[in-house]
Symmetry: C2
Subunit: 686 residues, 2 copies
C-alpha cells in the first residue's frame, strides 16, 4: 500500500538528476513535459486541464493523497488512508474497521479526530531568497540560515488555521519553491467498506497483482462547519478503463532517493535498510502475538500492525532492489561518468567537484549516529503515539518562545497546526498496546546503545523495560486528550509546572534526543543539502532542467497508460472484475468476502471492472491519488504498486513497474448494488 | 554463547585454505602444528599430552563440547549446554533453570532425557576408499556414491548403542577421515547454578567482555547403569589464570566457512544471512511477547527464546563482518590471485581450473531454492520439536527398509541412534508453545512461497495458520513419548498404519520437503563438495597441507594465551573476579544475582578469578570446551566469544578475536562457599 508514513521518510536522501525514460517521472505541475508526452502519445494536457487537475487534488497531511469528487466537498481516498480515523471513531461496541461505515444522512457524518486536508493553490520560486541567506555558510550556520530564511518566507505568505505555506526543497536544493495550500481541519467520515474487502488478500497479496480490493473511502471537507463548496472537482467516469487507455495520477509521492549519490545508496543498502528490516520484523512478531491475547488486543493493535506489515514489505522490496538489482552498479557507472565530465571543465570542477566527497563524509558520520538518532529521536515518538504526544507537548513549551526560524522544524508557524491537531486528538489511547510498544522500544534502546551507555543509564536506571513502561503509562494523566489540550492552552508555564511519570520521562529523553538530532541536522543533513544542491547545479549546467525532482510529499503529475506486464514468464492482464473477487474468496481471512458482498452476489454485474494496473510512476504517499483520464474525469483510485515498483525509490523500470488502482465504476457498482448507499452514489453521479 | 545448533549448521559451506597466522587455527589432533607453536612460544605439547587431552574431551551430540574431570565419569560443560536437560526435568513445581539443580547424594542424580556423549578414540584416513567410489561421477550420482561409500565404511567400523563411527569430510572434500567414538546415552544431571548467574547480563552482555558469568554445569556419564570409570581426565587447577598464560581449548567447533569461494560468501551476505536475520527477528518478537502471557508461557518458552536470541546475535555478528569488514574484498583478492596461479600451470588448470565457476553455478541454483528448502525442510522441524519428532517417525518408516547408503543421512546406522533418542525423548511437549511456533511457521510458508503455490495450497487448504496449528497439536496422540516409542518399536508397518492430524500432515509435508532437499543435495551440495575438493587439491599441490580444515563439529585443538584487547580506544583487561560480579548487580534481570550469592557475599574471596579471555580460535560448538594449561590441567571452561569473534566464521583476527571462559577456580570457590556442594567439590579435588 502506497501510504507515506514518517517512519518511511526517515530514509529520505539526496543528489543527482537522471534523464527521464518511458513514462517515468513525478512531474511538478509547473514543469510538466507536455512536448515529451505529445511525442509519445500524440496528445498532452493543456494549461486548463492541468489547473483543473491541480485544484481537484487534495493532500491528506498525515501522509496520503485524495481528490474532490463533488461540488459539496466530497473527497475520495483509500480505505487505508481513512483507517486511522475509522479506528479512532470505533469503540468496543462499534468496529468501523471490521464492519465499515456509512452516513446514511448528512447528520450521520462523523468528524475525524486528526485529519488535515490541503489544497495546493499556488507555487512560487523563492530560490534566490534562500540562497542569498545561506551564501558562504556551512554546517550548523548553513542549516540555521536555511531554516530562518524558509520560516520568514512561509510566515510572510501566511499562517494559521486556513492557510499552510511551505518552502519545498526540490532538486536536492537546486530549487526552493513556496507551496501555498488552503488548509482544512474539519474532515468528516462519509463511507468506508469493510476492511475485509478494502484489503482483500491482506498482507499475502499486498504489493501484487491481480487484485480484488475495494480500497476506497469517502470523507467530506467542512469549511466553517458547512460542506465546502467547490466548482472544481473530478467527475466520476461511467465507463470502466480498457487496456491502453491514457491515465494520469495526481498525488503526493512521499520520498524517493533517485538522485542519491553512490555513498548514500551504499549506506541504505548496508546499514539503514537492514537495521530497519530487523527492527520492524521483530516488532511485527511482538504485535502479531500481542493480538492473540484477546479480541480487544486484536482490535486495538490492528492499525499499528497494518502499518508495520506494510512498511516492512516496502523496506524488503527496496532492499531487494538495492541488493539483487543493477541499481547500485548503474549508479556507480553514471556517477563516475558524470564526475569525469565535471572534472573536465575547470570552472565546474572548482565550483562543484568536491561535492561528492563531502556527501560521502556526511554519510560516514550518519553511519555513526544513525541507530542512536533512530531510537532516541525518530522511532520513539512513532512507536508510542502517547509518548509522541507528550514529547510534542513538552517540546512546545521550549520552542514556542523562540523566533520561528530557530525552532525545531515541526514547531514552525507553518507546521505546528498539523502537529497540534495530533497532540490534542481525542483518539483513544490503548494503554496495553502503549505499554507493549514502549517496553519493546526500551529493550531495543538498551540492546543497541548498550547497558553502560550514560544516556541508557539515565533513562532506565536499574528498572526493567516492562516496569518502566507500566509506570509511564499508568502514572500519567496525559492519556486524556482534554487534559493535554488544557495544558497546551495554558502555554509553556502551565506545561513546565506540570509533572508526572511520562512528561518527566519525556524531559529526560529530550536531552540526548535533541543532542543527536542537532548532530544529524548540522553535520549530516545540512552538509548533504548544501552539496547535493551543488551537484544539482552541475547537472543544470550540463543538461538543463530536463528532469523532475525527487519526491517530497508535494503534488506531482504522472502520465502513462493502462497496461499489463510480464512476470515469471506469464502475462499479467491489466484489469480484474467482480467475478474474480468472488472466485478468489476462501471464506477465511484474508480471503474472506464480507457478508454484504455474499448477500449481493446475484445483484452485481460480474463483468464490471474492479482493479487495474497502469504504467504511472508513483511511490508511497500516492495512496488515494485519483487516476484521471484524458477528458479530465476520475477513472480510478490508486491504492498500491506491484512488487516490482518497490525499487521505484531508487529508479523506474517501465517494463514492470505498475501502479495499482480501483476502477471508479467498481465503486459506483458497489455503492449501488452492495451497500445501497444511494445518497452517496447520487452525489457522485451529479 | 558458543553452542552449535543445527539451525546454525544450515549455513555450512565450502572451499579454500588460508595460511595460518598468529594463534589462528582449529587443528585436528592428527595434524597439530607443534613446530609452529614451539617457534612462537618456545614450547609445544608432545604426543602423550595430546592423547591425554583428546581422551579427556567429550562431545555432546546435541551441539556442545565438554570434558571428563574425575575418574568417575564426571563431565564439565556449560549451563547453556545442559539447559535443555534442566528444562526437560523441570515441571510447574520444580524450575531447575531458575533455581539451579544439585544432587546432594549419588541417588539424586537425574537422567537427562536426550543427551548423548561421544568420546573420540580413533582417527583413520579413508580418502582413497571414498574417492575410488566417486571417481568420474557428478551431481546426483556423485552424492549417492559418496553417501554409500561413507555408510559402508561407518558400518564396517561399528554401529549401535556403544559406538559411533562417522566419516568426516575435511578440507572441503580434500580429505575423508573416519572418526570413531565411544557413545554414551545415559547422562545424569549433577549440578547447575541458577540461570541468573549462569547467564548474568543476559542478552545485553552476550558476546561481550568483561563478563561475570558462572556458565557451568556438571553431568555424569553412566555406562551400563554405573558411573563411567576413566583413568584419563582433566584435574582442576588450583590457581587462577594470569595474563599471558598459555591456554589450549579442546572442543568441537561446529562450522566455519573460511574456505568458501567468493560466490558462496556473496550468497551468505546478500541472501542467506539477511533472510535468517529477518525470520529470527520476527520469531524473537513472537516468543518474547508469548512469554508475557503468563508464568507458564514464560517458563515453557525460556529455552527456545534463549536459542533464538543467541542464534540471532551470532547471525548479526557474522553479517556485520561480511558487510562492514574487509572479508569479502580480501577473499576476492586472494581468490583472484590463487586462480591465476592455477591457470598458469596447464596441468593444474586442466584438473582444477573450472571448479570456481562450477561452485558459483551451484550457488546460483541454491539462491532459487533456498527459501523453500529452509521453510519446508530445515526450519520446520526445528521450530516445532513435536513436528520434528513426528516427521522423523514418519520418515523412519520409509527409510528403515533401504540400504544404509541410500537413506537420508540422519537415518544411517551411524546417525540414527542420536535421532532416535530425540524421537522418544520424554521431555515435555508444550502445546501452547507448539501451536504458536507452528502457526508462525505456516504464516511464513504462505508469505514466502505465496498463496497460489501448489505446495502451499496442498498443505494449508482454505484454513488459517492458527486453525491448522491448533488442529495439528490438539488432534495428535504423538505428544506422548511412550506412544511414539511404541509406534517406533512396532516398525514401519505400525507407523504406516497409524493416522492422526499431525502424522498425516507430516506425510503431506514430506512430499515437497523431500523434493527440495533432493534438489539441494544433488544439485547444490554434491556439486560444491566435488568442486571444493578440487580447489583443496589445487591448494595441496601448490602449498601442501600446512593449514587446518574448516570446522565440522569434530574435535579440534586451538592454542593461544590469556590476553586482553583494545576496544573503542579502551584496554579490556583479560580477567574478572567475584568483586566485579557484585559491583555490576542491579537487582533486576538480567543483572540480578541469585539469593545464594547475596547470602554468601561475606564468605566469598572477592579477588578470586571469575571469567577470562584468551586468544584461542573457537566458534559455535566450542561451548563447554575445557581450557587446558601447559601442564594438562583444566584451567577454564569456554562459554562464549566476544563480538569481534563472530566474524570468525569467515576469518580470524588475532588482535581482537577472543574466547571467553569461566576460570575453574571460580567454580571451586562457588561450589564451596556459595552452594556448599561439598560432595561435588570434593570429587573435583581428587
Amino acid at each position: 500500500m502506497r501510504g507515506f508514513s514518517r517512519a518511511m521518510a526517515l530514509l529520505a536522501g539526496v543528489a543527482f538528476v537522471v534523464p527521464a525514460l518511458a513514462d517515468e517521472g513525478m512531474w511538478t505541475f509547473d514543469n510538466f513535459p507536455a512536448a515529451k508526452m505529445r511525442a509519445k502519445y500524440g496528445w498532452a494536457p493543456d494549461a486548463a486541464w492541468l489547473k483543473h487537475a491541480q485544484l481537484s487534488s487534495i493532500r491528506l497531511a498525515q501522509g496520503c493523497s485524495a481528490s474532490l469528487v463533488s461540488p459539496d466537498g466530497l473527497v475520495m481516498t483509500n480505505h487505508h488512508c481513512a483507517r486511522e480515523c475509522l479506528s479512532e471513531l470505533s469503540d468496543a461496541k462499534h468496529d468501523y474497521i471490521a464492519n465499515g461505515f456509512y452516513a446514511a444522512t448528512a447528520a450521520d457524518e462523523k468528524k475525524c479526530p486528526a485529519l488535515e486536508a490541503n489544497q495546493l493553490v499556488d507555487i512560487t520560486d523563492v530560490t534566490a531568497q534562500v540562497e542569498a541567506a545561506t551564501a558562504g555558510k556551512s554546517d550548523r550556520a548553513f542549516h540555521e540560515a536555511e531554516r530562518t530564511a524558509k520560516a520568514a518566507i512561509e510566515s510572510k505568505c501566511g499562517t494559521g488555521a486556513d492557510v499552510r505555506c511551505q518552502v519545498v526543497t526540490l532538486y536536492e536544493g537546486g530549487v526552493y519553491d513556496l507551496y501555498k495550500y488552503k488548509r482544512y481541519q474539519d474532515i468528516r467520515a462519509v463511507f468506508a467498506p469493510e476492511q475485509s474487502i478494502a484489503f482483500f488478500g491482506g498482507d499475502p497479496d499486498n504489493f501484487t497483482f491481480p487484485r480484488y480490493d475495494l480500497d476506497t473511502a469517502f470523507v467530506r471537507v467542512f469549511d466553517h462547519d458547512k460542506p465546502l463548496h467547490s466548482d472544481t472537482f473530478l467527475k466520476f467516469a461511467t465507463k470502466g478503463v480498457r487496456d491502453g487507455d491514457i491515465a494520469f495520477t495526481s498525488g503526493n509521492p512521499g520520498a524517493t532517493e533517485r538522485d542519491d549519490t553512490l555513498a548514500e545508496l551504499a549506506f541504505q543498502r548496508d546499514d539503514a535498510q537492514p537495521l530497519l528490516i530487523t527492527l520492524f520484523s521483530e516488532l511485527r512478531g511482538v504485535l502479531n502475538e500481542f493480538a492473540t491475547k484477546g479480541p480487544e488486543e486484536d482490535r486495538t493493535s490492528t492499525t499499528m500492525r497494518f502499518l508495520i506489515e506494510n512498511t516492512l514489505k516496502a523496506y524488503k522490496g527496496r532492499q531487494s532492489a538495492l541488493v539483487q538489482g543493477s541499481l547500485v552498479t548503474d549508479k556507480a557507472q553514471a556517477e563516475t561518468a558524470f564526475r569525469k565530465r565535471v572534472a573536465a571543465d575547470p570552472k565546474l570542477s572548482a565550483a562543484y567537484g568536491g561535492a561528492w566527497d563531502a556527501v560521502a563524509a556526511a554519510v560516514a558520520h550518519n553511519r555513526d549516529i544513525y541507530i542512536r538518532n533512530g531510537l532516541l529521536e525518530r522511532l520513539s515518538q512513532r512507536l508510542s503515539p502517547l509518548l509522541g504526544q507528550v514529547v510534542a507537548l513538552n517540546r512546545y513549551a521550549a520552542e514556542a518562545g523562540k523566533p520561528d526560524g530557530q525552532r525545531l522544524e515541526e514547531y514552525s508557524d507553518a507546521n505546528f497546526p498539523a502537529l497540534k491537531q495530533e497532540l490534542v486528538s481525542p483518539a483513544p489511547i490503548y494503554s496495553e498496546l502503549e505499554k507493549t510498544t514502549l517496553a519493546w522500544w526500551l529493550t531495543k534502546v538498551r540492546e543497541y546503545l548498550g547497558t553502560s551507555d550514560p544516556d541508557v543509564r539515565a533513562l532506565m536506571g536499574k528498572k526493567s523495560p516492562g516496569e518502566i513502561a507500566d509506570a509511564l503509562v499508568d502514572g500519567t494523566r496525559l492519556k486524556d486528550a482534554k487534559f493535554r489540550a488544557q495544558l497546551l492552552a495554558g502555554g509553556p508555564k502551565a506545561i513546565d509546572a506540570y509533572h508526572d511519570s511520562l512528561i518527566d520521562f519525556a524531559r529526560k529523553l529530550d536531552v540526548p534526543a535533541r543532542a543527536v538530532r542537532a548532530d544529524y541536522e548540522n553535520n549530516v543533513k545540512a552538509v548533504i543539502t548544501k552539496n547535493a544542491a551543488l551537484i544539482a547545479k552541475a547537472r543544470f549546467a550540463l543538461e538543463g532542467k530536463s528532469s523532475y525532482p525527487d519526491a517530497t510529499f508535494t503534488l506531482r503529475l504522472s502520465y502513462g497508460t493502462v497496461a499489463g506486464y510480464q512476470e515469471n514468464g506469464r502475462t499479467i492482464a491489466p484489469v480484474t472484475n467482480f467475478a474474480g473477487a468472488y472466485a478468489h474468496a476462501t471464506g477465511r481471512d484474508p480471503f474472506k468476502l464480507p457478508a454484504t458482498w455474499l448477500r449481493a452476489e446475484k445483484d452485481v454485474a460480474m463483468d464490471t471492472n474492479l482493479d487495474f494496473v497502469s504504467t504511472n510512476d508513483i511511490i508511497g504517499g500516492n495512496s488515494g491519488s485519483p487516476v484521471i483520464g484524458r477528458d479530465g474525469e476520475a477513472i480510478g483510485l490508486i491504492f498500491d504498486g506491484n512488487i516490482q515498483s518497490l525499487g521505484g525509490d531508487f529508479g523506474y523500470d517501465g517494463s514492470v513497474n505498475r501502479a495499482v488502482a480501483v476502477d471508479v465504476t467498481a465503486i459506483t457498482e458497489a455503492l449501488r448494488k452492495i451497500y445501497h448507499a444511494d445518497r452517496l452514489a447520487g452525489e457522485l453521479a451529479r
